[in-house]
Symmetry: C2
Subunit: 465 residues, 2 copies
């Protein structure tokens, strides 16, 4: 790559690359408008910016060839998993190639004794758990969408049960990645831990395709708990719900999930799922354990709830009853999205220390009220992480402007509480503007790493830093 | 730093730096021979390589000044915590300044509701836990030695209860570090999770002082378990002990510690601590939970042990009884070190997937037997991590050579099983030669990062990569 000088992805350059890739990939490269647009915008409110072409590699070695070719012509590459990210990670502001990894969907190994598995990056978490169904094992990270595991690693995804099982930053043992110079790096061995050198695994997790293209992952698995109990309870105040959660965590109660829905979100769920829940801050909780220990947890939590002003405590054991109890939570996202017909949902998230969570949510609700906005809130409350879903008429300029102001204040509020501008959605293009405020001189360190590992800026340019 | 050209740390250069530092630090810089030698070699069998001087900074801003001065004169800086590392991390092969952080020992904050604390890098884990004693919280990572928390982060330390609470890579929420250009980076916020940019926290953890100087840390804390139960049992074979452990982990039993001592180590313990234990592979296990759940765990494990050929199952609840039961484990390190009078202990460790652990230990024991060497083995068996402590007469050239061959074969064996050359000791100078074999092209990525973040190679030069 020595002699390559960064050039614009101009018409003739990209055509050269597409022609060469067609010779290599046959019909596994497409320039059709529909497919490009499908790859240029995802579950995000940011405008569509389609790539010039979409390639469907089937093996790491093909990706090496693609990277070498694109590097030689300074054509951007944007890795694409299931297209479920929310901050414009997949937009192609500089054109280039969308690298759709969905055909790299083989589960390569399951090691029962080691509680791990090796998968290609295009395997979705749903497919993995289906494959594991009869083994007594499962993969815990659950961001809601049926994302690919490569995409989940690239965005450091987490979700409802991170409070117990951690985020993608905790469950990936190693990654295989194609770097910008075409080298293939396996970031670590399959041992559970290592002190041998810099943690390249964690460097790539959350790098959003800007440092390397993840092609394989070794993931930790967990035994399916013998007993799962679900509980639901309501509170008069957000503070009460947060205090109950803090008390449970301090006691080491081992909550597997603890989700907060605010009153607006409950109303949205009532409307969407024909429910009749009291429109009040509501906790949805899950306990994992042996029959005795799970029962002990659910009883202890009942006491904590009532000490913190909660009520209507219900719990269930059998899958059907649990699903009924959690129905509102399961449908929360789509209930929120459709709560204001004709409006677009601007999905965002922040994360703060749990001691500041109630304050952060309450101030955010006040901001929403002042704007007269409709914006349900759902929190992974055990992590201090919450989502706000402003429902905005995108044709109404004033509403859009007000929503942008709201997002800026939400992030400023989280940062002032020693929180982060995103707990699990990632930076993409949507949150890039907050990186200086959050990281200060750390951004320069990130830029230096980006520059040295991708000197021609071909990997997902314009994202993160 | 633009105009600085890397120069040798020559006599006049280092004198200039020492004079300037004396003006800045007063008597908090020392060039005395004893103190330099104390800082040039630690609990390691590698020869002493003392620095030119030892500085004792008291604040991050002083370290900024020191870094700027050393950078301007290309003088190496070697951060020093408690001096308990094992692979020559602290040797000064190019001379320079040892930066002893032991006076940065303030506990800056304990956030009870968030289960975290903020400490200066020179605080030891012992001091932190003493400080926390009346809070109901504790910091779990326990590498044996009373290391500083900065040093533990720098070497990605872990220890006996990593199987439950993770390693330093799992419990650090953020770090403050002085970078080679004098900038002060706080790697993340205090939120439990974040997807905002590259994971600089994890990049610095395990970087052994080669990328930045850690000056402060925010650490996760845990509630002290209501009940702690300890158990001990013996097996006729290493395989049986490993199989029992695997079965317990698969069942999600939540072992807090699970330690394997081999027959030789038990003999050493008997000799050192005047015990009368059966010289056989022995497991030392600890369970944390509520009274009911801990009791349930200890009973379940009893069944697993007997199914896997184990016996002599004993358990205890009260602290005094637990200490008596675990006495051999507590004294294992010093028992091993003194088992062969006059010999030096070469402490080393590797880590493999747990399914390969028995095979790896058995082959290693066979190698030891063939060499006629004395080398007790202690394993953090739940992680697949084990220590071997060859006891070598360092005046006997043949023995030393044989030991080196043994270490090379041990690492090769671990790598062949998809393991790592070090689970928790780190690379330092001792294991640098294995990095290519373990990481392949990943080493080039590490070198590129080192070069861009420390272009004049002043931070702990000659270590890791």
């Amino acid at each position: 790559m020595a002699a390559v000088i960064a050039e614009q992805s101009e018409g003739h350059t990209i055509r050269t690359v597409i022609d060469a890739l067609r010779a290599r990939l046959g019909d596994r490269i497409s320039t059709g408008r529909a497919i490009r647009e499908q790859h240029g915008s995802t579950l995000t409110w940011l405008p569509n910016q389609p790539p010039d072409a979409v390639a469907f590699p089937q093996a790491t070695r093909e990706i090496v060839d693609i990277v070498n070719l694109c590097a030689a012509h300074a054509v951007p590459i944007i890795p694409f998993g299931a297209g479920t990210s929310l901050e414009g990670h997949l937009n192609a502001p500089h054109g280039g190639l969308s690298l759709d990894l969905s055909r790299m969907n083989k589960i390569l190994a399951v090691h029962h004794e080691d509680l791990d598995c090796v998968v290609e990056a295009g395997v979705t978490r749903g497919k993995l758990n289906e494959h594991l169904r009869d083994t007594g094992l499962f993969f815990p990270v659950d961001p809601g969408a049926d994302a690919t595991l490569g995409g989940m690693a690239a965005t450091r995804a987490s979700g409802t049960n991170a409070v117990r099982y951690g985020t993608m930053g905790d469950v990936v043992l190693n990654l295989t990645a194609v770097m910008a110079d075409g080298s293939v790096v396996r970031t670590a061995r399959r041992a559970r831990k290592s002190s041998a050198g810099y943690d390249l695994t964690r460097l790539l997790i959350g790098s959003e395709g800007t440092l390397g293209i993840i092609t394989e992952l070794t993931l930790r698995l967990y035994g399916i708990p013998e007993t799962v109990l679900s509980a639901v309870c309501t509170f008069d105040t957000i503070q009460g719900a947060c205090d109950a959660t803090i008390a449970a965590i301090q006691l080491g109660l081992g909550l597997a999930r603890v989700e907060l829905l605010d009153a607006v979100q409950i109303k949205a769920c009532n409307a969407h799922s024909k429910l009749d829940l009291r429109p009040a801050p509501t906790l949805f909780v899950e306990f994992h354990g042996t029959p005795a220990s799970a029962r002990e947890q659910v009883d202890t939590f009942a006491g904590i709830v009532s000490e913190n002003g909660g009520g209507d405590y219900q719990w269930a054991e059998h899958a059907e009853d649990r699903n009924a109890l959690w129905a509102a939570r399961h449908d929360a996202y789509w209930a929120a999205r459709t709560y204001r017909p004709g409006a677009e949902a601007i999905a965002t998230d922040v994360c703060v220390p749990i001691s500041r969570l109630a304050e952060c949510v309450i101030e955010t609700q006040a901001d929403i009220a002042e704007l007269g906005m409709v914006a349900p809130i759902v929190g992974h409350i055990g992590d201090g992480n919450f989502h706000v879903l402003p429902l905005v008429d995108m044709d109404n300029e004033q509403e859009v402007k007000a929503a942008h102001g709201f997002l800026d204040r939400l992030v400023a509020r989280a940062l002032a509480m020693d929180g982060t501008c995103t707990g699990e959605h990632g930076v993409g293009t949507g949150k890039k503007k907050y990186m200086e405020a959050e990281h200060g001189p750390g951004v320069e360190v990130m830029r230096a790493i980006k520059k040295t590992l991708d000197p021609h800026n071909i990997f997902n340019p314009g994202k993160v830093v």
